[in-house]
């Protein structure tokens, strides 16, 4: 069996991310099929990439033509008034099912309850690159708003024709078009008259400005919230099909191991057990979980693995294998100050960032079913269309024969871009001739998924006597180029990202390298401020030109009580960090308490600005969650590995934040009604590690430059 594709590296992903809107879109659906599936009504699609020049400004009915292939979003209004929205985006806890529905409700002038969102289904929804990079809010949000506004416009037109009255003056409200002059009103459903009306829109309808939002911009309860507190929602591991078997993979002894010998006779002999060996893949399918575990354990496999790099050698290895890539990831401006320039104070340091794991609480899982040469797989992934491609490649199938369905999933954080479990379940199901469900164990999730890239960052900087930055030299090894650009003014700067040979399989993680780059940069800025004899806040305000970032810093500092903070040396410390990434401005203040080698983060205040806020409650939830998750990577999370094995693949060994670690958290939202809305799943995580590091330094005078900062739960001796 071919290997599942490697996850994209951070830089490749970023590169691709920018192409999301330009890519050719695939759409296998014909108009007729669509109406057969949905019933009659009004169907509005948005042409991907906007208006073809020759048609702009004109609306086109195409009742007798198949829908064009290049469509990025759909909306259907049934004669019953039911609204169905189709998007390839997926829900992994970031709450876009709710925030997208809010935006549709806003522009269509209907209640949220009448909207059904169909998401991440390769048969039903338009192609989508995937749900990552905080792209849903800035791209899919406006698209769906345009589709909804156009649908409202079409319905208004239908009403005008029916009443033989000019459309100006007709009012759309609450799922109805009303004529205030006559008092007549018709519901959207009635207006469809049971006909089939399909249209793509190419021009930009007027959208409701954020300042006038009535549904968007306000807190909305999570769609289907009740199903989650009653256990009713079915995540992938909860699905079942008649005759379904439970799958289990026999894992190699180490990464890159080859299977040299395999005796599966004992497993074969177990009743109801099916063993599959295909190249280096060995797995079993069994009637239940206990039998599957027993069968997998009964397989005697001998593996041969090459010698591999261990955590101890990690940082030296990264430096040794680093490449210099001219142009692409290197940026220089200004000229370096002379070595003997008077009045300059210099500071040079290196920072280290360990490999960490996403560890979503729902591990990778998939349910696969074959019908002849057609394959259907349910799986929790951020890229259903990517997994569809992986499956088509793995089984040599035409893309249209593979259907991937993504149930709302238990966490991803950038860690579910790939389809390992999907490919494995499908392989087992094909051999067994029955549907197979595979749920990865926690050890598998910690071992065979991919990791946030480890990295080394070197910074050499200088400040002048006035506290201005005179030089900024920055080299990032392996962790990635996201947010590598500095928001600080510097007379000279050289910034480079160096790709290396990663010893572990690595890929995206919430905010990518923005965590690492902010940790290094914001730690260094604190020290430069101290070197220049300035308050860390004043130093930042002086050197950061962007007014929105300055505003975020001021806001967090004011809420935190930065100016009034009391110094109790050796016991309590206060730290500040700020940054910008993916349309979001963030500023984080942290307070720590230290006694001996014990550290407690007692209070965190974060200000966040991502433009016009769509769902303030959902946004707060994301920010609070990002702070907690970031706390883990800052203090304790660290993948230890040795010669192709993960040494701590359990929650008892790999420590993620718990209730006991929870600081008091305050979030200050900066809602800018006149600015475009950006996503918030990622950027709020970048400030917490440097804010804590700066607070520790403030309290103890000691600079910790290695993530995670704690050793066995305590400050390093």
């Amino acid at each position: 069996m071919p290997d599942a594709a490697e996850p994209e590296t951070a830089e490749l992903r970023e590169n691709r991310e920018q192409q999301v809107e330009r890519l050719a879109h695939r759409f296998a659906f014909e108009r007729r099929t669509f109406f057969r599936l949905l019933g009659n009504g009004v169907l509005v699609g948005l042409a991907a990439g906007g208006a073809p020049a020759q048609e702009s400004g004109r609306r086109r009915f195409f009742e007798r033509h198949p829908l064009p292939r290049a469509i990025s979003a759909w909306l259907h209004i049934a004669p019953t008034g039911r609204v169905t929205v189709y998007t390839g985006k997926v829900e992994v806890g970031q709450n876009i099912r709710t925030s997208l529905a809010q935006q549709v409700a806003e522009e269509l002038h209907v209640e949220m309850g009448s909207i059904r969102m169909i998401m991440g289904d390769t048969l039903l929804t338009p192609f989508d690159m995937g749900t990552f990079g905080s792209r849903t809010t800035p791209t899919m949000g406006p698209r769906l708003r345009r589709v909804a506004a156009s649908a409202r416009d079409i319905l208004t037109g239908l009403a005008a024709r029916r009443w033989k009255t000019p459309r100006a003056g007709l009012v759309a409200e609450n799922g109805k078009i009303r004529n205030p002059r006559t008092g007549a009103s018709l519901s959207y459903g009635e207006l469809t008259e049971g006909r089939k009306i399909a249209r793509t829109i190419e021009d930009d309808p007027a959208l409701t400005p954020a300042a006038e939002w009535r549904i968007a911009g306000h807190a909305a309860p999570k769609v289907h919230g009740r199903r989650f507190v009653t256990g009713e929602h079915r995540y992938t591991p909860d699905l079942a099909l008649p005759g379904m078997l439970t799958g289990k993979v026999v894992r190699p002894s180490a990464f890159h191991a080859r299977l040299v010998e395999c005796d599966a006779s004992r497993a074969h002999a177990m009743p109801g057990v099916r063993v599959v060996r295909d190249g280096d893949f060995v797995g079993v399918a069994a009637p239940d979980m206990a039998t599957a575990a027993r069968a997998a354990a009964a397989v005697r496999a001998r593996w041969q693995a090459p010698r591999q790099i261990s955590s101890r050698e990690l940082y030296a290895w990264l430096r040794r294998t680093a490449r210099h890539e001219e142009g692409r990831f290197a940026h220089t401006s200004g000229t370096p100050p002379a070595a003997d320039a008077p009045g300059l104070k210099r500071l040079q340091a290196s920072y280290e960032i360990a490999y960490i794991a996403h560890a979503p609480l729902e591990p990778r899982a998939a349910l696969a079913e074959w019908k002849g040469q057609r394959l259907t797989v349910w799986t929790g992934t951020q890229r259903p269309f990517g997994v569809q491609q992986e499956l088509a490649a793995a089984f040599h199938l035409p893309l249209e024969h593979v259907h991937v369905i993504m149930p709302d999933t238990g966490g991803a954080y950038g860690g579910k871009h790939t389809g390992e479990a999907a490919v494995e379940a499908a392989r087992l199901a094909r051999a067994a001739g029955r549907p197979v469900k595979l749920i990865w164990t926690r050890e598998e999730e910690f071992t065979w998924a991919y990791f946030r890239p480890a990295g080394v960052i070197d910074i050499a900087a200088a400040v002048d006597a006035q506290g201005h930055i005179a030089a900024w030299e920055y080299d990032n090894y392996n962790s990635g180029p996201a947010a590598i650009g500095s928001p600080y003014r510097s007379r000279y700067s050289r910034i480079e990202f160096h790709p290396c040979d990663p010893p572990l399989r690595q890929g995206s993680y919430r905010s990518l390298a923005a965590c690492a780059n902010h940790f290094a940069r914001e730690s260094h800025m604190h020290d430069l401020a101290v070197l220049a004899g300035q308050d860390p806040l004043e130093f930042r305000l002086k050197n950061i030109p962007d007014p929105r970032l300055r505003a975020a810093l001021r806001r967090a500092a004011a809420r935190f009580g930065w100016a009034a903070r009391r110094r109790l040396p050796g016991r309590r410390g206060f730290g500040l960090a700020g940054g910008f990434e993916k349309g979001g401005y963030v500023a984080t203040c942290a307070e720590v308490e230290i006694s001996g080698r014990e550290l407690r983060v007692t209070r965190v205040v974060e200000a966040f600005d991502c433009g016009a806020v769509v769902n303030p409650n959902g946004l707060r939830n994301q920010i609070e969650g990002a702070i907690v998750m970031g706390l883990g990577g800052a203090l304790r999370e660290d993948i230890e590995f040795d010669n192709g094995r993960i040494l701590n693949p359990r929650f008892s060994q790999y420590k993620v934040p718990r209730f006991a670690d929870l600081p008091e958290i305050e979030v200050a939202l900066i809602d800018r009604k006149n600015e475009r809305s950006f996503g918030a799943g990622e950027t709020p995580i970048v400030g917490i590690a440097p804010a804590i590091a700066n607070a520790i330094c403030d309290a103890t005078g000691r600079r910790l430059r290695s993530l995670p900062m704690l050793r066995l739960g305590r400050l390093p001796a």
Binding site: K222, F228, V229, H233, D288, M289, T291, A359, L361, G411
Partner: protein
Amino acid sequence: MRLLVNGKAHELEAAPDELLLWVLRDKIGLTGTKFGCGEGECGACTVLVNGRPVRSCQVPAAAAAGKPITTIEGLERNGRLHPVQAAFLRHEAFQCAYCASGMIMSAAGLLARNPKPSERQIRAAMNGNLCRCGTYSRILKAVRAAALASRKRA
């Protein structure tokens, strides 16, 4: 063996090494109880046995035979949510909500034996439950609110 789940008796066969978690999920079809780690470290699989929170991934089904078992599906009464469920919903104490069943069961177990828990007792009782999305502060709010609501109702 006979399992008493949410007030209903189920006669079924299970091998001695079959864990309560998988019997509930795969043999009885109650999938509200989640698998998160299989080592007793995350609490996603929490159910009540004899009214006490138990990690169902650590208990052989046989050990729970004959004892009253409550899962997330058994908390609702006549279409009314349990105060803990209602509080989780109102405070939106989740993101992906994969942890929610276990969180709610741990909290329901706590409030059943201690209707007036202190902040420290709440944190201690909940500390074995992980929320990777980091919604802990909302969960604490929800548990406090549920404690208050149950006391008012009682």
